[in-house]
């Protein structure tokens, strides 16, 4: 099961026949297992890994460190969930260390991200402070190197 998940995480578009052959399973068994993982909520969706710089030079991604006052009873969860619901937020994590939430925000322009931070995020009452870091360049995205290594230059036949 673990191996199937790893294969799907590497390439969720791999044909089921190919997965089946690698795992010594029937296609039907593979389908059943994947359906099971989806139902259990282990698999939450399937997405393409996009090199955004090639696709749209204007896209802006920012990592925002947010410090918040935890609520009595609710802790960080309620405010974190509120933040996570904004469409601009791509990821949102509770962190250890000098700040509380890491909020990854994506926007069509610098201004869009800036206004989200100043108008939406900072104005939430429990938010004490924010520190916004803009992404300049991506080298690796979800485990995929965006700047590759030299292609296979091994001898075509070797002992």
């Amino acid at each position: 099961m673990e191996t199937l998940l790893r294969l799907l995480q590497q390439d969720s578009t791999a044909p089921r026949e190919e997965l089946a052959r690698q795992l010594n399973l029937s296609v039907q068994e593979v389908n059943q297992r994947i359906a099971g993982l989806e139902q259990e909520g282990v698999i939450r969706g399937y997405q393409a890994i996009v090199d955004k710089e090639r696709f749209d030079k204007n896209t802006v991604t920012a990592m925002i460190e947010v410090r918040i006052t935890p609520e009595r009873g609710g802790g960080f969860d309620r405010i974190a969930q509120r933040i996570a619901k904004f469409d601009q937020v791509v990821s949102c994590y509770l962190m250890s260390g000098g700040y509380d939430l890491m909020v990854v925000v994506q926007g069509g322009s610098l201004r869009e991200v800036a206004s989200f931070v100043s108008e939406k995020l900072s104005t939430l009452e429990p938010v004490i402070s924010t520190a916004t870091h803009f992404r300049l360049k991506s080298y690796k995205e979800n485990g995929a190197l965006l700047v590759g290594e030299t292609p296979d230059d091994r001898l075509p036949v070797s002992p």
């Binding site: 191996t3 052959r21 091994r154 001898l155 075509p156 036949v157 070797s158 002992p159």
Partner: protein, 391 residues
């Protein structure tokens, strides 16, 4: 000039694999299943350690036997994984790949005319290395119906008063064969009875699948004192270009091998040795990751070959499958050349690994699954075409 070449060198035939290599190299867009090295680049943390070593200016000779810290790391790794303890200062020699270690072990042990037994099909260098060391190579054919294991009775049949060494390579290049404990114990018994020295090339030990246990013959009772355990970083750690192998053996034998090594080689390159320390101390997750990839590809390629009608019992080791191609009515060489010309897929004809490889071809799955998929489609088309023409 030919008459000036030493007779025992002149008489060694050109390697069959080299012939085939030249044909493949002259063609474009070939998908090669003929490659005997990992397709993975060396894990980054190991490459990074090699860079760090260069940055620190570690660019000189090392002690002949190899860096003491590397020998300690080897001793600990071999003890942990193979259950045999070797004294790092006196029983371990770091070589330039296992090939060098085999060469110096043979040269250290053989008097002219001594016989060396080895199972065949086998790695291309064994018989020539024996000849170059003035020994006499004696092949013991292994069979597909025995899953390419070496049988004790077949071995014993070929023992003469001149027999001195048994050369083992499990998991095997090119067959992927492995030796379960029980079969290996029978071989060990023959070696003890006939006082044979064993050179055990276990370079593919980490690449053993289906939870099969890899057993080193050195770990069996009464065998450590008569075995040269040979291993290296090339395959399991994807470090072929670093050229680091090692030999573990009783001190007098290591001392004898060292005499040759120090004059011929001096020492293995320090950058490779530094990288090998990192590999042995921290490389296990990366080895595990590659192992999983190989195992999945093996499942895929063996199923695909069987589906197209080429008999291919699923091998338990290395990164090769060795399907039988007799059903096509072609020889191994004809099959390989026509597959290459008609479908641009390169496999290696079995006889490149000794005459008993006739009727088989070696397909390496040290190539990406994408490439394997295309190669299998083309090969299936080729085999179906042959059957159609025959019908």
């Amino acid at each position: 000039m030919n008459d000036k070449i030493a007779a025992h060198v002149r008489d060694i035939p050109r390697s069959g694999i080299r012939d085939f290599f030249e044909v493949v190299q002259s063609m474009h867009d070939v998908i090669s299943l003929g490659i005997g090295e990992p397709d993975f680049a060396t894990p980054w943390h190991i490459r990074e350690a090699a860079l760090f070593s260069l940055e620190k200016g570690r660019t000189g000779y090392t002690s002949n036997l190899g860096l003491p810290r590397l020998r300690e790391a080897i001793s600990s790794y071999v003890g942990r994984h193979f259950g045999v303890d070797y004294h790092a200062p006196s029983e371990i020699l770091v070589s330039v790949g296992v090939s060098e270690a085999i060469d110096i072990a043979l040269r250290a042990l053989l008097n002219p005319g001594d016989e060396v037994l080895y199972h065949e099909p086998c790695y291309v260098s064994y018989a020539p290395s024996v000849t170059l060391a003035h020994g006499v190579p004696v092949a013991v054919p292994v069979r597909e119906q025995d899953r390419f294991m070496l049988r004790a009775d077949e071995l014993e049949k070929r023992i003469t008063p001149k027999s001195k060494i048994l050369l083992l390579n499990f998991p095997t290049n090119p067959t992927g064969g492995t030796m379960p404990r029980q079969e290996l114990e029978a071989i060990a018994e023959v070696c003890r009875r006939h006082d044979l020295i064993v050179l055990s090339d276990e370079i593919y030990a980490e690449l053993t699948y289906d939870d099969a246990e890899h057993v080193s013959i050195a770990s069996l009772p009464g065998m450590r004192e008569r075995t040269v355990f040979l291993h290296g970083l090339s395959k399991g750690w994807a470090m072929t270009g670093f050229r680091i192998g090692y030999a573990c053996a009783p001190a007098p034998l290591v001392e004898a091998m060292m005499k040759i090594h120090q004059y011929a080689i001096l020492c293995a390159p320090i950058m490779g040795q530094d990288a090998a320390i990192e590999a042995l101390e921290h490389g296990e997750p990366a080895v595990k990751h590659m192992h999983e990839k190989y195992e999945l590809r093996r499942n895929y390629i063996a199923a695909a070959l069987n589906d197209m009608g080429l008999r291919c019992p699923v091998p338990r080791g290395a990164f090769y499958v060795f399907p039988e191609i007799r059903s096509t009515g072609l020889t191994s060489r004809e099959f390989s050349l026509r597959l290459l010309e008609e479908q641009k897929v390169a496999v290696v004809p079995g006889p490149a690994f000794g005459p008993s490889g006739e009727g088989f071809v070696r397909c390496s799955y040290a190539t990406s699954l994408e490439q394997i998929k295309i190669a299998m489609e083309r090969m299936a088309g080729f085999v179906a075409g042959l059957q159609k023409r025959a019908a």
